[in-house]
Symmetry: C2
């Protein structure tokens, strides 16, 4: 276990915690207080660490993700969907007659040619978000939706290109899990940077601390 | 307070909790057990509710955001930056000599003409993410970065367009706060939907449950 720590920088008590929580499979027992850990352990430990550090995921969600990695019943074609859904907020489908928020979302999906997504939980999330913005009197913010959809399709095409090139199942699963979760953080980080860039271009740097420098933060 | 509940659907105990936590300003006292709440309270309550429900933010972070809304010292030009940074993960700047991950990120920013972002916390987050992917042997996933950056700039331009059209300070602040936080969730929801759409286009719907229908989830 000291070797695992040396190689990954993860402290021993944390490794023990991950073992107890089932995020890391047990090592091969060598004696009462000794176990042997393989390259697969080093790899899994780095994966878990990345998901904790940058994915902002709970231990329970990471346990689910790791199960997909180890589950032989999860087939290739369902991998993207299964891993995606694990890290996707599960909002209930809208009840009752179709309201304006639902119409706005379905019109958006239709305009971009995205079909057969009626039961996707992210559609429900999106409807809830649109409804919240409407209730707050912020329908003006919905003007961004078409640009966001174009951007999202560009992102998704890049995502599928990376997954599609892979033949190795374990690696493909890992990429889906990492790509879905860390990819969200990469995208939101790039959005912040792009906002700072566009703001500077439009307004010039602010003397008291432009958005790009973190002066206004705390 | 019963009226606030009737208008917003937020239960009385939750409203009391928000008052105690400083997310909602106190009403005007009318007697020992009565207070009057204004339209501003209804509005703020809906805002807090939306941030809790869809922003996935802690109470402490929402308190910070609400403070920006109420702080007269936060000037127009710094609003985007300040609100952005409140909801931006604060990772430390990289220490020591420039490593490969830092180079990859700085080359990316330079390629897209995004300058003067050396001290932006999202740059540090991005470097950490790139380093994690490299350590996991997943440098192949970095192929998406240019597409992501183009998509992020399109998103940011739409964001700034909405903020730029506003003259009302309170509304502008609200849009930045809502747009930054809820916008992230809108983008990740659209990314999931677009992935399902692109996967269907490439592989056709899977009989056991395509990514679009949530069959593979749990």
């Amino acid at each position: 276990m000291a070797d695992l720590t040396a190689e990954t920088g993860v402290p021993v008590p944390t490794i023990k915690y991950y073992l107890r929580e089932g995020l890391l499979p047990p090592g091969r027992a060598l004696g009462r207080n000794q176990a042997e850990y393989s390259r697969a352990h080093v790899r899994r430990l780095k994966l878990v660490r990345a998901l904790v550090e940058y994915g902002g995921l709970s231990i329970a969600v990471i346990r689910d993700l790791v199960r997909h990695l180890d589950d032989p019943d999860v087939r290739g074609g369902d991998l993207l969907g299964a891993a995606q859904l694990t890290v996707t907020a599960q909002h209930e489908p809208p009840a009752g007659p179709k309201d304006r928020a639902e119409e706005i979302v379905d019109d958006l999906l239709a305009r971009h040619g995205w079909h057969d997504l009626d039961r996707h939980p992210s559609r429900h999330t999106l409807i809830g978000l649109v409804r919240s913005l409407s209730e707050l009197g912020r329908e003006d913010m919905l003007d961004v939706l078409d640009d966001y959809a174009v951007a999202a399709e560009r992102v998704a095409e890049a995502d599928l290109r990376v997954v599609g090139e892979l033949l190795d199942r374990e690696r493909a699963l890992e990429i889906v899990v990492l790509g879905t979760q860390l990819g969200d953080t990469i995208i939101t980080s790039l959005r912040r940077l792009a906002q700072a860039h566009v703001a500077q271009r439009l307004h010039g740097p602010s003397p008291s601390g432009p958005p790009g420098t973190g002066q206004a933060g705390h």
